[in-house]
């Protein structure tokens, strides 16, 4: 966990390969293949695409993101802190009577409370998304694959990881070919030839 770590679980110890990477030609083929991989019972796998393929999470059997709960919490915290700051300033920090108004003029605090609520929620959404996705993750075994550079262009991939209980070097690769993969390859975990910095897949 944490910044800039290899996104490979401890379970990877003792495995020579990260897993199998298969490329599909069309979004339709990828979608069908994802449904099949899901139904075959794999759990440690992923679909990798240059754009979010609509509805793919259903084909993969993923649960909806829990990010909204975090955003609600950070948004309410931002608004609450903002309201508390303003109340403290006018009641305790610098109690100054302006135009004969009471010190606790809560309606006037609404705009700043709202703005800080939005700030809290937006920070929660972005930083929460980074945390849920473990970004930044500059090193990843998939970047060892030459083919994989196409994932940000036109490549639609499925990767099944070697530590999946159902994984088998031969069978899984054949399974993916049967599903219509046009290229199937085994991705190594470590590549001693690469000095390992930068995010490039070149």
């Amino acid at each position: 966990m944490g910044l800039m770590t290899l996104d490979v679980p401890e379970a990877s110890a003792g495995y020579s390969h990260y897993g199998v990477l298969a490329r599909f030609e069309t979004a339709k083929a990828l979608y069908r293949a994802c449904e099949a991989v899901r139904d075959a019972g794999y759990s440690k796998w992923d679909a990798l695409t240059p754009f979010p393929v609509h509805g793919l999470e259903k084909a993969m059997g993923l649960k909806p993101s829990r990010l909204p709960f975090l955003v609600l919490a950070t948004g309410l915290s931002g608004a609450g802190l903002g309201f508390a700051l303003q109340s403290w300033v006018h009641i305790k920090g610098y109690p100054l009577i302006i135009s004969g108004k009471p010190l606790f003029t809560w309606p006037a605090f609404v705009p700043v409370t709202f703005e800080l609520g939005v700030l809290g929620a937006a920070l929660g959404a972005v930083l929460g998304m980074f945390a849920f996705n473990k970004l930044p993750t500059y090193h990843h075994p998939l970047f060892r694959s030459k083919n994989f550079a196409r994932v940000t262009d036109d490549g639609l991939f499925i990767a099944i990881e070697a530590w999946d209980p159902k994984y088998d070097d031969q069978d899984t690769a054949e399974f993916l070919s049967r599903l219509g993969a046009v290229e199937v390859e085994h991705v190594p975990i470590d590549d001693p030839a690469d000095d390992g910095d930068g995010g490039g897949a070149a």
Binding site: A33, A40, L48, H90, V112, L116, A202
Partner: protein, 486 residues
């Protein structure tokens, strides 16, 4: 002009394509990435160098302001707010169209936004940067700028949170922050594209750092899309609040001409109006310079023209209502302020405003004019001139003749007033040129989703039968056999 296909008309069956020119995923990546990767074209320097010179003028004018004080401007006793506030409101307004395109059109599922949202969001950020300069410098004493923020200080004083001026500080700075985050989140997949295509180590590392190691995992897209949706949902009320708060800087004052309840919606409509005009200006130049006529199509331009017509009419309605309410209120000061606005010493500015903002967009009732590149360009410039004058009219014509005739004076802008205005355009265009040179101008990952082949159910709609009660899971047994072709 190379117009390959007219996509402004809806076909008899189906829908007109949003992108023309027969792009697939690969050629689309190519079209957007090549302007970032190739050698800097000569044409770019023609825009960049003058912008940089104007930015230099901005630096000089701000430096001279700090040295000499606000006396270098044409401010006088009734008109204590001059160009600095006019420019501030103008630039904040420009930014609003970017958020409208990126957030509000996203929530309304207006997929045509994908071609222009990246550039429009960049425009928002640069416009907010320009806007934020002016409150920081407008008192001429930058060393007390920290008074704007609620910071513990040696005077043991705190800002007055009942004042719209402090609301403004929060609204605009948070608007800038949220816009920047929204823009950056949208950029991540495209930065990864540039990273993966990069030929040199420096580019790989530079783009790679900001791409955060993005690898297009759908487990990541899931959170990513949710975060993007929520940012859109947050930016929508935020953008409406920002110009409302800006308008309250005026509306909560008792000055005739400012003290009006119509201000918040009137300012928001005007902001979107001027912002769309600026997006139009920039897109008309960019699509030619970067050969993107098939991605930023006639349909995009026509849609923007329609929004300009709508918001232009709203602004015209607000001008009319202001006049009506001034008469209807029976308040002599209010009546005088508006008669003075249309017929007094600043009548020239008022009528520039009315003709640019109300008359110009009326030609967009005609499809021919909405599709006329030359007129779109001219009208976008005219509207921006008009919208700058709107803020000038509101600020100066209201201030220069208030309740006591003994206070009256005429505000005459000086060289340094104009230098700060031109200079702020320098900052804006310098930033935009750098953006257009080094970052992908179009949200490639998003545009790919509107290509027909991105649909995983392409061609299935006609044959698919929805079984009763099956909401979420598609029929599983069809998959292993159907995926074939190996």
């Amino acid at each position: 002009m190379a117009q390959s296909q007219d996509n402004t008309q809806e076909p008899v069956a189906g829908r007109a394509p949003l992108i023309v020119g027969g792009y697939d995923f690969r050629s689309l990546t190519e079209a957007v990435a090549v302007p970032v990767e190739r050698k800097t074209p000569i044409g770019w320097w023609f825009f960049f160098l003058p912008s940089l010179a104007m930015l230099g003028l901005f630096g000089v004018s701000i430096g001279w302001l700090f040295w000499e004080g606000t006396g270098i401007w044409g401010l006088n006793n009734p008109v204590n707010w001059g160009f600095a506030i006019v420019n501030f409101v103008f630039w904040v307004g420009i930014g609003h169209a970017g958020t409208l395109i990126s957030a509000i059109l996203f929530l309304f599922r207006q997929k045509w936004r994908t071609s222009i949202n990246r550039a429009a969001e960049a425009m928002t950020i640069f416009a907010v940067m320009c806007a934020l300069v002016f409150p920081g410098i407008h008192v001429g004493r930058v060393w007390v700028a920290y008074w704007m923020f609620p910071l513990p200080n040696q005077m043991d004083m705190w800002p007055n949170f009942r004042s719209p001026l402090i609301w403004d500080v929060f609204a605009v700075s948070i608007y800038g922050t949220v816009s920047l985050m929204f823009w950056y989140v949208g950029l991540i997949p495209d930065l990864a594209t540039i990273r993966d295509r990069a030929k040199t180590r420096i580019k790989q590392i530079a783009y790679g750092i900001f791409a955060l190691g993005w690898r297009g995992s759908h487990r990541n897209w899931l959170h990513y899309e949710r975060a993007y949706l929520m940012l859109a949902g947050l930016a929508t009320p935020l953008v409406l609040s920002v110009h409302s708060v800006v308008s309250m800087d005026f509306a909560t004052a008792q000055l005739p001409g400012w003290h009006t309840t119509i201000f918040p919606p009137y300012f928001v409509a005007g902001a979107i109006f001027s912002g769309f005009a600026m997006v139009m200006t920039l897109m008309l130049i960019c699509r030619v310079l970067f050969k993107m006529e098939d991605i930023i199509t006639m349909r995009h331009l026509e849609n923007m023209a329609k929004i300009m017509l709508l918001t232009g009419c709203m602004v015209g309605y607000a001008y009319g209502i202001e006049m009506f309410i001034a008469w209807y209120s029976g308040n002599p000061y209010e009546q005088f302020a508006f008669a003075n606005r249309a017929l007094g010493p600043y009548a020239w500015a008022y009528w520039i405003m009315v003709s640019c903002n109300v008359l110009t967009p009326q030609l967009f009732w005609f499809k021919k004019m909405r599709n006329h590149i030359g007129w779109l360009f001219i009208s976008s410039i005219l509207i921006n001139i008009g919208m700058w004058f709107e803020r000038f009219v509101i600020v100066t014509s209201s201030l220069h003749r208030d309740f006591l005739p003994a206070n009256w004076d005429y505000y005459q802008a000086t060289f340094w007033d104009f230098a700060s205005l031109i200079g702020s355009f320098g900052l804006f265009f310098t930033m935009f040129c750098l953006f257009a040179r080094f970052l992908p101008l179009v949200a490639t990952a998003e545009v790919k989703t509107v290509l027909p082949e991105a649909d995983p159910h392409q061609g299935e709609e006609l044959v698919r039968v929805v079984p009763a009660g099956s909401g979420v899971e598609p029929a599983p047994q069809a998959a292993p056999a159907g995926g074939g072709g190996s």
